[in-house]
């Protein structure tokens, strides 16, 4: 009986603590249907909905990769992606989702334009916002609509120091991205 209780406790512990894994080199994110090259020395966290990587901690920089079905609800907006959306329309949905997060204040799109993502026509948005603490943040989102799936690669970091320092790494990650099954 004691052994069973111990086993259950260990299982709970293992499930409860999401493991951070050190990154470096090619990575096949089968859940997100994306393969990409991740930078050396960053840490990766996989969740049910997305995976993200960071070097110094999520508040200081994060790169998030997610694949969203058109039937899935978004976290902060009731709007949904639709099959056949133009890149401009899809870009507005993803930005509405970001701007409707109650932790995001004064969100402004600085630039939004067409861009290739995983070799396909998508978009790239540069945006800025403030956190609850008044910290000025900057971010870049790449998005791609493929049939019933929307792929998003998002980078966010404090505007001061971290954004400029880690943007190049993010752009390299995006450039390496490929869809596993198209």
């Amino acid at each position: 009986m004691r052994k069973i209780v111990l086993l259950i406790a260990i299982t709970f512990l293992l499930n409860g603590c999401a493991p951070w894994v050190r990154t470096g080199g090619p990575y096949n994110a089968t859940g997100e249907n994306v393969s990409l090259d991740l930078p050396d020395g960053w840490m990766r966290l996989n969740t049910d909905d997305y995976f993200l990587i960071t070097r110094d901690g999520v508040p200081l920089q994060s790169i998030l990769v997610q694949c969203i079905n058109v039937n899935d609800s978004l976290k902060h907006t009731k709007k949904k992606f639709r099959k056949g959306m133009l890149p401009l329309e899809a870009s507005e949905v993803i930005m509405d989702n970001i701007a409707s997060n109650d932790k995001v204040h004064d969100c402004q799109v600085k630039e939004s334009k067409s861009a290739k993502v995983a070799g396909n026509p998508g978009f790239r948005i540069v945006f800025a916002y403030k956190t609850d603490d008044g910290l000025k943040m900057k971010g870049v989102v790449y998005g791609l609509m493929q049939g019933e799936w929307f792929y998003v690669l998002k980078f966010a970091a404090p505007q001061r120091h971290y954004f400029d320092r880690d943007l190049k790494t993010f752009e390299q990650v995006v450039a390496s991205a490929r869809l596993i099954k198209s």
Binding site: K79, L86, S91, T131, D132
Partner: protein
């Protein structure tokens, strides 16, 4: 054994209790307490954080209007003790809250829902009463007393085998649950003292219960169990009944001004800005209601029709696209200088394959908004129109 523990717990809790019964700031017996000062200092820190965060809605005229109503509600002696200031927060949900030092925050979402100044006065009077009746320090003391009792309980029973861990598990949830009952009384006091102020200021108290209807509407639309404003408040029905009882007592004497027209003009900007927040969050029924309210005040502003058109375009159901087109055209007709309606039209024509019409609309958009953040897409679509 249990009786001994119980007696010890009672003694320990009683010895550490501070009084939660304090007179209002307007009372002759008012003394600014030490813990109250600390609470005010802490409030100021939090207010500075709010100011830095970009959450504040910037509209000096609106701020002056709100503060003018607040001045009508409270007697000068209250202002001598508490420097009331009303602020607006960019948030589409119905909520408002007060700090003990008289800084009061009202969400744009609540202002957008209200119909007139009497309803606004009811809300402000309620929040101001929290400050004048020193609810935060009373609640804070109540919480400390309960925590003291809880700590005493823990220190006494924590050493008993097998019990200490249980109190740790109860922790926050148990303490919070015991506090919520206390808040209930204070909210009722704020309602009743607040409505007195509303009547004294000459506003129609029959508008007061309508605030609850707005909250109920929001709750139903969003499928919330309890709206924000009532997170720690007595339940909706109970509070609404408090007002009803008050009105019954007033009988035929109930009456006063609502200042609906002035209110509508002053909050017009909030209506459209809040509608945009609701629109981004995909709450289309609310966006539609606010945009229609806005158009009733400013029928020649293209933004209202544009938002209604965008709702239809993004819903994209039967007949919606034709409806969207008409609304965009209406927007262009009433305000030819407003760019976004041209973009909406361009996207509709583009998807219909009507390239020459799409091109014309897109070109108008770029001419009106040469620095548009999405210029690059439009240029791509223009290239595809050729």
């Amino acid at each position: 054994m249990i009786r001994i523990i119980f007696a010890l717990v009672l003694l320990a809790s009683l010895s550490g209790c501070a009084t939660t019964s304090l007179p209002p700031v307007t009372s002759k017996d008012f003394v600014f307490e030490e813990d109250e000062k600390r609470l005010w200092n802490r409030s100021e820190e939090e207010e500075q954080l709010i100011a830095r965060s970009g959450m504040l809605y910037q509209d000096r005229e609106l701020d002056a209007y709100l503060n003018g109503i607040a001045r009508k509600l409270q007697p000068p002696e209250a202002y001598q003790r508490i420097p009331f200031q009303i602020h607006v927060l960019k948030n589409p949900y119905c909520n408002a809250f007060a700090y003990p030092n008289g800084q009061i925050y009202v969400h744009t979402g609540f202002l957008a829902r209200m119909d007139n100044e009497a309803q606004l006065a009811t809300l402000l009077a309620h929040e101001m009463t929290h400050a004048t009746h020193r609810h935060q320090v009373r609640e804070f003391r109540g919480m400390l007393n309960k925590s003291a009792m809880f700590a005493s309980t823990r220190s006494l029973i924590g050493d008993l085998p097998g019990v200490g861990d249980l109190t740790t598990v109860l922790g926050e949830i148990g303490t919070k649950a015991s506090i919520s009952g206390h808040s209930r009384d204070l909210e009722t006091e704020a309602d009743m003292a607040g409505i007195d102020l509303v009547v004294k200021a000459g506003y129609d108290p029959r508008e007061a219960p309508k605030l609850f209807q707005h909250l109920k509407d929001e709750m139903e639309e969003d499928d919330q169990k309890e709206p924000f404003f009532f997170a720690s408040h007595p339940r909706l029905k109970e509070r609404s009944e408090n007002y009803d009882d008050y009105l019954k007592e007033l009988g035929n004497r109930a009456g006063g001004v609502t200042n609906a027209e002035t209110f509508r003009k002053k909050v017009a900007g909030v209506l459209i800005d809040n509608a945009l927040m609701d629109f981004r969050a995909g709450r289309f029924p609310r966006t539609q209601r606010s945009a229609e309210k806005y158009l009733a005040i400013r029928p020649k502003d293209g933004r209202g029709y544009y938002l209604l058109g965008e709702i239809a375009r993004q819903k994209g159901e039967n007949g919606d696209l034709a409806k969207a087109k008409k609304l965009f055209q209406k927007s262009v007709a009433v305000d030819p200088s407003y760019p976004d309606a041209y973009k909406g039209l361009g996207l509709l024509y583009f998807k219909e394959g009507k390239k020459s019409q799409a091109e014309k609309a897109f070109r108008s958009y770029l001419a009106k908004a040469p620095r548009a953040a999405d210029r690059s897409y439009i240029e791509d679509y223009l290239a595809q129109c050729k």
